[in-house]
Subunit: 216 residues, 2 copies
Protein backbone atom coordinates (compact mmCIF):
# COMPACT_ATOMS: atom_id res chain seq x y z
CA UNK A 1 0.00 0.00 0.00
CA UNK A 2 1.06 3.49 -0.73
CA UNK A 3 2.02 5.29 2.48
CA UNK A 4 -0.09 8.20 3.66
CA UNK A 5 3.16 9.99 4.49
CA UNK A 6 1.82 11.35 7.76
CA UNK A 7 3.73 11.28 11.02
CA UNK A 8 0.70 10.08 13.00
CA UNK A 9 0.28 6.68 14.57
CA UNK A 10 -3.20 6.16 13.11
CA UNK A 11 -1.90 6.83 9.60
CA UNK A 12 1.13 4.61 10.24
CA UNK A 13 -1.14 1.79 11.40
CA UNK A 14 -3.26 2.14 8.27
CA UNK A 15 -0.10 2.16 6.13
CA UNK A 16 0.38 -1.41 7.34
CA UNK A 17 -3.14 -2.83 7.77
CA UNK A 18 -5.28 -0.37 5.79
CA UNK A 19 -5.29 -2.33 2.55
CA UNK A 20 -8.45 -4.02 1.39
CA UNK A 21 -8.81 -7.54 2.92
CA UNK A 22 -5.85 -7.15 5.26
CA UNK A 23 -7.79 -6.71 8.52
CA UNK A 24 -10.15 -9.53 7.53
CA UNK A 25 -7.16 -11.85 7.16
CA UNK A 26 -6.08 -10.78 10.65
CA UNK A 27 -9.64 -11.43 11.86
CA UNK A 28 -9.52 -14.99 10.55
CA UNK A 29 -6.17 -15.67 12.18
CA UNK A 30 -7.42 -14.19 15.45
CA UNK A 31 -10.58 -16.29 15.63
CA UNK A 32 -9.20 -19.47 14.08
CA UNK A 33 -5.61 -19.46 15.22
CA UNK A 34 -2.94 -20.79 12.85
CA UNK A 35 -4.42 -21.58 9.42
CA UNK A 36 -3.49 -23.18 6.15
CA UNK A 37 -3.73 -21.10 3.00
CA UNK A 38 -6.92 -22.94 2.10
CA UNK A 39 -8.49 -22.37 5.51
CA UNK A 40 -7.91 -18.66 5.04
CA UNK A 41 -9.39 -18.79 1.57
CA UNK A 42 -12.52 -20.54 2.89
CA UNK A 43 -12.86 -18.09 5.76
CA UNK A 44 -12.60 -15.15 3.37
CA UNK A 45 -15.29 -15.83 0.78
CA UNK A 46 -14.91 -13.43 -2.13
CA UNK A 47 -11.15 -12.90 -1.99
CA UNK A 48 -9.18 -13.53 -5.19
CA UNK A 49 -6.47 -16.12 -4.69
CA UNK A 50 -3.69 -13.92 -6.03
CA UNK A 51 -4.74 -11.15 -3.68
CA UNK A 52 -4.66 -13.50 -0.69
CA UNK A 53 -1.16 -14.64 -1.66
CA UNK A 54 -0.07 -11.01 -2.05
CA UNK A 55 -1.48 -9.97 1.29
CA UNK A 56 0.07 -12.86 3.17
CA UNK A 57 3.45 -11.92 1.71
CA UNK A 58 2.98 -8.30 2.72
CA UNK A 59 1.89 -9.27 6.22
CA UNK A 60 4.90 -11.54 6.51
CA UNK A 61 7.22 -8.76 5.37
CA UNK A 62 5.64 -6.45 7.93
CA UNK A 63 6.24 -9.02 10.66
CA UNK A 64 2.57 -9.59 11.48
CA UNK A 65 2.36 -13.24 10.40
CA UNK A 66 4.87 -16.03 10.10
CA UNK A 67 4.89 -19.31 8.22
CA UNK A 68 5.62 -22.55 9.92
CA UNK A 69 6.11 -26.01 8.42
CA UNK A 70 3.78 -28.39 10.17
CA UNK A 71 5.29 -31.77 11.16
CA UNK A 72 4.77 -34.87 8.92
CA UNK A 73 1.23 -35.98 9.84
CA UNK A 74 -0.16 -32.68 8.51
CA UNK A 75 2.74 -31.78 6.21
CA UNK A 76 1.56 -28.36 5.20
CA UNK A 77 2.61 -24.82 6.01
CA UNK A 78 0.67 -23.04 8.69
CA UNK A 79 0.24 -19.29 8.79
CA UNK A 80 0.06 -17.78 12.24
CA UNK A 81 0.04 -14.33 13.80
CA UNK A 82 3.21 -13.04 15.39
CA UNK A 83 2.95 -11.12 18.64
CA UNK A 84 2.71 -7.83 16.75
CA UNK A 85 -0.14 -9.36 14.76
CA UNK A 86 -1.96 -10.57 17.83
CA UNK A 87 -1.79 -7.06 19.23
CA UNK A 88 -4.24 -6.02 16.52
CA UNK A 89 -6.94 -7.77 18.53
CA UNK A 90 -8.20 -4.51 20.09
CA UNK A 91 -8.49 -2.98 16.62
CA UNK A 92 -10.51 -5.87 15.23
CA UNK A 93 -12.61 -6.02 18.39
CA UNK A 94 -13.40 -2.31 18.17
CA UNK A 95 -14.42 -2.66 14.53
CA UNK A 96 -16.52 -5.71 15.37
CA UNK A 97 -18.35 -3.89 18.13
CA UNK A 98 -19.00 -0.85 16.02
CA UNK A 99 -20.18 -2.97 13.10
CA UNK A 100 -22.81 -4.82 15.12
CA UNK A 101 -25.26 -2.05 14.21
CA UNK A 102 -25.22 -3.35 10.64
CA UNK A 103 -25.99 -6.95 11.59
CA UNK A 104 -29.72 -6.33 12.09
CA UNK A 105 -30.28 -6.11 8.35
CA UNK A 106 -31.24 -9.31 6.57
CA UNK A 107 -27.91 -9.68 4.72
CA UNK A 108 -29.44 -11.19 1.58
CA UNK A 109 -26.77 -13.11 -0.24
CA UNK A 110 -24.06 -12.54 2.35
CA UNK A 111 -21.66 -15.36 3.04
CA UNK A 112 -21.44 -16.73 6.54
CA UNK A 113 -18.84 -18.78 8.40
CA UNK A 114 -19.49 -20.21 11.83
CA UNK A 115 -16.30 -18.83 13.38
CA UNK A 116 -17.77 -15.37 12.93
CA UNK A 117 -20.09 -16.06 15.84
CA UNK A 118 -17.01 -15.39 17.95
CA UNK A 119 -17.39 -11.62 17.94
CA UNK A 120 -20.96 -11.23 19.17
CA UNK A 121 -20.39 -13.99 21.71
CA UNK A 122 -17.28 -12.32 23.14
CA UNK A 123 -19.11 -9.02 23.32
CA UNK A 124 -22.47 -10.12 24.68
CA UNK A 125 -22.16 -13.43 26.51
CA UNK A 126 -20.83 -13.96 30.03
CA UNK A 127 -20.65 -16.99 32.28
CA UNK A 128 -22.77 -15.71 35.13
CA UNK A 129 -22.42 -18.93 37.09
CA UNK A 130 -18.69 -19.70 37.12
CA UNK A 131 -19.04 -22.44 39.73
CA UNK A 132 -21.54 -24.50 37.72
CA UNK A 133 -20.18 -27.46 35.74
CA UNK A 134 -18.98 -26.78 32.17
CA UNK A 135 -21.71 -26.56 29.54
CA UNK A 136 -21.79 -26.49 25.75
CA UNK A 137 -24.11 -25.03 23.14
CA UNK A 138 -23.94 -26.24 19.56
CA UNK A 139 -24.81 -23.77 16.82
CA UNK A 140 -26.00 -25.27 13.54
CA UNK A 141 -26.39 -23.11 10.45
CA UNK A 142 -25.86 -23.82 6.78
CA UNK A 143 -22.12 -23.47 7.50
CA UNK A 144 -20.04 -25.81 9.66
CA UNK A 145 -21.30 -26.22 13.20
CA UNK A 146 -19.76 -24.21 16.02
CA UNK A 147 -19.62 -24.83 19.74
CA UNK A 148 -19.96 -22.34 22.56
CA UNK A 149 -18.06 -23.63 25.58
CA UNK A 150 -19.10 -22.20 28.93
CA UNK A 151 -16.83 -23.07 31.80
CA UNK A 152 -15.37 -21.54 34.94
CA UNK A 153 -16.36 -17.97 34.16
CA UNK A 154 -15.33 -17.90 30.52
CA UNK A 155 -17.28 -18.24 27.27
CA UNK A 156 -15.48 -19.42 24.14
CA UNK A 157 -16.48 -20.28 20.58
CA UNK A 158 -14.76 -22.73 18.31
CA UNK A 159 -15.57 -24.34 14.97
CA UNK A 160 -16.56 -27.96 15.31
CA UNK A 161 -18.95 -30.24 17.09
CA UNK A 162 -19.35 -31.87 20.47
CA UNK A 163 -20.73 -35.29 21.43
CA UNK A 164 -23.51 -34.30 23.84
CA UNK A 165 -24.23 -30.57 23.81
CA UNK A 166 -26.49 -29.26 26.57
CA UNK A 167 -28.33 -27.12 24.04
CA UNK A 168 -28.58 -27.11 20.26
CA UNK A 169 -29.59 -24.02 18.29
CA UNK A 170 -30.31 -24.55 14.60
CA UNK A 171 -31.42 -22.05 11.99
CA UNK A 172 -30.32 -19.06 9.98
CA UNK A 173 -27.40 -17.01 11.34
CA UNK A 174 -29.30 -13.76 11.67
CA UNK A 175 -32.00 -14.75 14.19
CA UNK A 176 -29.47 -16.86 16.11
CA UNK A 177 -27.37 -13.73 16.39
CA UNK A 178 -30.44 -11.84 17.59
CA UNK A 179 -30.85 -14.42 20.33
CA UNK A 180 -27.18 -14.31 21.37
CA UNK A 181 -27.13 -10.52 21.46
CA UNK A 182 -30.26 -10.38 23.58
CA UNK A 183 -32.37 -8.62 20.95
CA UNK A 184 -34.67 -11.58 20.40
CA UNK A 185 -36.21 -14.05 22.85
CA UNK A 186 -36.53 -17.81 22.40
CA UNK A 187 -40.21 -17.59 21.37
CA UNK A 188 -39.33 -14.86 18.88
CA UNK A 189 -36.51 -16.79 17.20
CA UNK A 190 -38.64 -19.94 17.21
CA UNK A 191 -41.21 -18.01 15.22
CA UNK A 192 -38.40 -17.12 12.81
CA UNK A 193 -37.63 -20.76 12.16
CA UNK A 194 -34.90 -21.32 14.72
CA UNK A 195 -35.00 -24.56 16.67
CA UNK A 196 -33.76 -24.44 20.25
CA UNK A 197 -33.60 -27.86 21.85
CA UNK A 198 -32.08 -29.01 25.11
CA UNK A 199 -31.51 -27.37 28.46
CA UNK A 200 -32.65 -23.74 28.16
CA UNK A 201 -31.05 -22.91 31.51
CA UNK A 202 -27.67 -22.68 29.75
CA UNK A 203 -29.01 -19.67 27.89
CA UNK A 204 -29.97 -17.98 31.14
CA UNK A 205 -26.47 -18.64 32.35
CA UNK A 206 -24.75 -16.83 29.47
CA UNK A 207 -27.17 -14.16 28.24
CA UNK A 208 -27.01 -10.66 29.69
CA UNK A 209 -29.66 -9.71 32.24
CA UNK A 210 -32.56 -8.07 30.38
CA UNK A 211 -32.68 -10.83 27.80
CA UNK A 212 -32.14 -13.49 30.43
CA UNK A 213 -35.33 -12.32 32.12
CA UNK A 214 -37.31 -12.23 28.90
CA UNK A 215 -36.68 -15.82 27.98
CA UNK A 216 -39.60 -17.44 29.76
Amino acid sequence: MRSYGQYCSVAKALDVVGDRWTLLIIRELLVRGACRYTDLKNGLPGIATNLLADRIRELEAAGLVSREEAPPPVATTLIRLTEAGQELDPVVQALGRWGIRYMAEPAEGDAFCSQWFTFPVEVFLRDRDPDAPPATIELRTAADPAVIEVSGGSVRVRVGSVSAPDLVISGRPQPILGLLTGHLSVPEVTALGVEVSGDHRVLRRVLPDPAGQALS
Copy 2:
Protein backbone atom coordinates in the same frame (compact mmCIF):
# COMPACT_ATOMS: atom_id res chain seq x y z
CA MET B 1 -16.65 0.70 -1.56
CA ARG B 2 -17.53 -2.69 -2.83
CA SER B 3 -19.06 -4.75 -0.04
CA TYR B 4 -17.21 -7.78 1.25
CA GLY B 5 -20.54 -9.60 1.27
CA GLN B 6 -19.84 -11.28 4.59
CA TYR B 7 -22.35 -11.48 7.43
CA CYS B 8 -19.75 -10.50 10.04
CA SER B 9 -19.66 -7.27 11.98
CA VAL B 10 -15.98 -6.65 11.25
CA ALA B 11 -16.58 -6.98 7.52
CA LYS B 12 -19.71 -4.80 7.78
CA ALA B 13 -17.72 -2.12 9.60
CA LEU B 14 -15.04 -2.21 6.91
CA ASP B 15 -17.73 -1.99 4.23
CA VAL B 16 -18.46 1.45 5.65
CA VAL B 17 -15.10 2.80 6.87
CA GLY B 18 -12.59 0.53 5.14
CA ASP B 19 -11.97 2.77 2.15
CA ARG B 20 -8.67 4.53 1.80
CA TRP B 21 -8.64 7.88 3.68
CA THR B 22 -12.00 7.31 5.36
CA LEU B 23 -10.72 6.55 8.86
CA LEU B 24 -8.24 9.42 8.63
CA ILE B 25 -11.12 11.80 7.91
CA ILE B 26 -12.84 10.41 11.01
CA ARG B 27 -9.59 10.91 12.92
CA GLU B 28 -9.48 14.59 11.97
CA LEU B 29 -13.09 15.14 12.98
CA LEU B 30 -12.48 13.34 16.27
CA VAL B 31 -9.43 15.39 17.25
CA ARG B 32 -10.51 18.72 15.78
CA GLY B 33 -14.27 18.63 16.20
CA ALA B 34 -16.43 20.22 13.51
CA CYS B 35 -14.33 21.29 10.52
CA ARG B 36 -14.63 23.22 7.30
CA TYR B 37 -13.75 21.45 4.06
CA THR B 38 -10.47 23.32 3.96
CA ASP B 39 -9.59 22.42 7.53
CA LEU B 40 -10.02 18.78 6.62
CA LYS B 41 -7.90 19.22 3.52
CA ASN B 42 -5.12 20.80 5.59
CA GLY B 43 -5.32 18.09 8.22
CA LEU B 44 -5.08 15.39 5.57
CA PRO B 45 -1.95 16.28 3.61
CA GLY B 46 -1.73 14.16 0.48
CA ILE B 47 -5.44 13.66 -0.16
CA ALA B 48 -6.77 14.61 -3.58
CA THR B 49 -9.54 17.18 -3.39
CA ASN B 50 -11.99 15.13 -5.45
CA LEU B 51 -11.38 12.14 -3.20
CA LEU B 52 -12.06 14.21 -0.09
CA ALA B 53 -15.32 15.44 -1.61
CA ASP B 54 -16.27 11.86 -2.54
CA ARG B 55 -15.52 10.52 0.92
CA ILE B 56 -17.46 13.24 2.69
CA ARG B 57 -20.47 12.47 0.53
CA GLU B 58 -20.17 8.77 1.29
CA LEU B 59 -19.80 9.40 5.02
CA GLU B 60 -22.83 11.66 4.91
CA ALA B 61 -24.85 9.01 3.09
CA ALA B 62 -23.78 6.45 5.70
CA GLY B 63 -24.92 8.78 8.48
CA LEU B 64 -21.48 9.22 10.04
CA VAL B 65 -21.10 12.95 9.37
CA SER B 66 -23.52 15.79 8.85
CA ARG B 67 -23.20 19.24 7.31
CA GLU B 68 -24.28 22.31 9.15
CA GLU B 69 -24.50 25.90 7.94
CA ALA B 70 -22.58 28.07 10.35
CA PRO B 71 -24.27 31.36 11.36
CA PRO B 72 -23.35 34.69 9.61
CA PRO B 73 -20.03 35.63 11.29
CA VAL B 74 -18.42 32.46 9.89
CA ALA B 75 -20.86 31.82 7.02
CA THR B 76 -19.46 28.50 5.91
CA THR B 77 -20.60 24.93 6.14
CA LEU B 78 -19.20 22.85 8.95
CA ILE B 79 -18.75 19.12 8.78
CA ARG B 80 -19.24 17.28 12.03
CA LEU B 81 -19.49 13.71 13.24
CA THR B 82 -22.89 12.30 14.07
CA GLU B 83 -23.23 10.09 17.13
CA ALA B 84 -22.60 6.99 15.01
CA GLY B 85 -19.44 8.67 13.74
CA GLN B 86 -18.25 9.56 17.23
CA GLU B 87 -18.66 5.95 18.22
CA LEU B 88 -15.73 5.16 15.95
CA ASP B 89 -13.48 6.69 18.58
CA PRO B 90 -12.51 3.27 20.05
CA VAL B 91 -11.54 2.08 16.57
CA VAL B 92 -9.32 5.08 15.87
CA GLN B 93 -7.86 4.90 19.38
CA ALA B 94 -7.01 1.22 18.96
CA LEU B 95 -5.32 1.91 15.63
CA GLY B 96 -3.46 4.85 17.14
CA ARG B 97 -2.17 2.76 20.01
CA TRP B 98 -1.10 -0.08 17.78
CA GLY B 99 0.60 2.30 15.35
CA ILE B 100 2.78 3.93 18.00
CA ARG B 101 5.37 1.22 17.33
CA TYR B 102 6.02 2.85 13.96
CA MET B 103 6.57 6.33 15.37
CA ALA B 104 10.12 5.65 16.52
CA GLU B 105 11.39 5.78 12.96
CA PRO B 106 12.64 9.12 11.67
CA ALA B 107 9.70 9.70 9.30
CA GLU B 108 11.80 11.45 6.65
CA GLY B 109 9.53 13.56 4.54
CA ASP B 110 6.38 12.79 6.49
CA ALA B 111 3.88 15.56 6.97
CA PHE B 112 2.97 16.60 10.47
CA CYS B 113 0.04 18.48 12.00
CA SER B 114 -0.01 19.59 15.59
CA GLN B 115 -3.40 18.10 16.38
CA TRP B 116 -1.85 14.67 15.88
CA PHE B 117 -0.13 15.10 19.25
CA THR B 118 -3.55 14.26 20.66
CA PHE B 119 -3.15 10.48 20.36
CA PRO B 120 0.11 9.96 22.22
CA VAL B 121 -0.96 12.47 24.83
CA GLU B 122 -4.27 10.71 25.50
CA VAL B 123 -2.48 7.39 25.70
CA PHE B 124 0.56 8.32 27.77
CA LEU B 125 -0.15 11.46 29.81
CA ARG B 126 -2.11 11.67 33.06
CA ASP B 127 -2.76 14.49 35.50
CA ARG B 128 -1.21 12.93 38.56
CA ASP B 129 -1.97 15.98 40.71
CA PRO B 130 -5.65 16.77 40.09
CA ASP B 131 -5.83 19.27 42.98
CA ALA B 132 -3.02 21.47 41.67
CA PRO B 133 -3.98 24.61 39.75
CA PRO B 134 -4.47 24.27 35.97
CA ALA B 135 -1.28 24.25 33.91
CA THR B 136 -0.47 24.53 30.21
CA ILE B 137 2.33 23.30 27.97
CA GLU B 138 2.82 24.83 24.56
CA LEU B 139 4.23 22.60 21.82
CA ARG B 140 6.02 24.40 18.98
CA THR B 141 7.00 22.55 15.84
CA ALA B 142 7.20 23.59 12.21
CA ALA B 143 3.39 23.20 12.17
CA ASP B 144 0.91 25.35 14.09
CA PRO B 145 1.45 25.43 17.83
CA ALA B 146 -0.57 23.18 20.11
CA VAL B 147 -1.42 23.45 23.77
CA ILE B 148 -1.61 20.70 26.36
CA GLU B 149 -4.06 21.74 29.07
CA VAL B 150 -3.67 20.00 32.42
CA SER B 151 -6.47 20.61 34.85
CA GLY B 152 -8.50 18.82 37.50
CA GLY B 153 -7.33 15.34 36.60
CA SER B 154 -7.63 15.60 32.84
CA VAL B 155 -5.10 16.23 30.07
CA ARG B 156 -6.28 17.69 26.76
CA VAL B 157 -4.63 18.87 23.57
CA ARG B 158 -5.89 21.54 21.25
CA VAL B 159 -4.48 23.43 18.30
CA GLY B 160 -3.62 27.00 19.15
CA SER B 161 -1.61 29.07 21.55
CA VAL B 162 -1.88 30.39 25.09
CA SER B 163 -0.77 33.69 26.60
CA ALA B 164 1.53 32.49 29.40
CA PRO B 165 2.26 28.76 29.16
CA ASP B 166 3.95 27.17 32.16
CA LEU B 167 6.26 25.25 29.86
CA VAL B 168 7.24 25.59 26.20
CA ILE B 169 8.65 22.69 24.20
CA SER B 170 10.06 23.55 20.78
CA GLY B 171 11.66 21.30 18.20
CA ARG B 172 10.99 18.50 15.76
CA PRO B 173 7.89 16.38 16.36
CA GLN B 174 9.72 13.09 16.72
CA PRO B 175 11.87 13.81 19.79
CA ILE B 176 9.01 15.77 21.37
CA LEU B 177 6.91 12.65 20.96
CA GLY B 178 9.71 10.61 22.54
CA LEU B 179 9.57 12.92 25.52
CA LEU B 180 5.77 12.76 25.84
CA THR B 181 5.72 8.97 25.56
CA GLY B 182 8.39 8.62 28.22
CA HIS B 183 10.97 7.09 25.90
CA LEU B 184 13.32 10.05 26.07
CA SER B 185 14.35 12.26 28.97
CA VAL B 186 14.72 16.04 28.95
CA PRO B 187 18.53 15.87 28.63
CA GLU B 188 18.16 13.41 25.79
CA VAL B 189 15.71 15.51 23.78
CA THR B 190 17.77 18.61 24.48
CA ALA B 191 20.69 16.85 22.84
CA LEU B 192 18.39 16.23 19.87
CA GLY B 193 17.73 19.93 19.43
CA VAL B 194 14.55 20.28 21.47
CA GLU B 195 14.26 23.32 23.69
CA VAL B 196 12.36 22.89 26.95
CA SER B 197 11.87 26.15 28.79
CA GLY B 198 9.73 27.01 31.79
CA ASP B 199 8.54 25.07 34.80
CA HIS B 200 9.74 21.49 34.38
CA ARG B 201 7.53 20.34 37.27
CA VAL B 202 4.56 20.31 34.90
CA LEU B 203 6.26 17.48 33.05
CA ARG B 204 6.62 15.49 36.26
CA ARG B 205 2.92 16.06 36.83
CA VAL B 206 1.81 14.54 33.52
CA LEU B 207 4.44 12.00 32.53
CA PRO B 208 4.03 8.38 33.62
CA ASP B 209 6.15 7.18 36.52
CA PRO B 210 9.35 5.69 35.12
CA ALA B 211 9.99 8.66 32.86
CA GLY B 212 8.90 11.09 35.53
CA GLN B 213 11.71 9.78 37.71
CA ALA B 214 14.29 9.95 34.95
CA LEU B 215 13.82 13.63 34.20
CA SER B 216 16.25 15.20 36.65
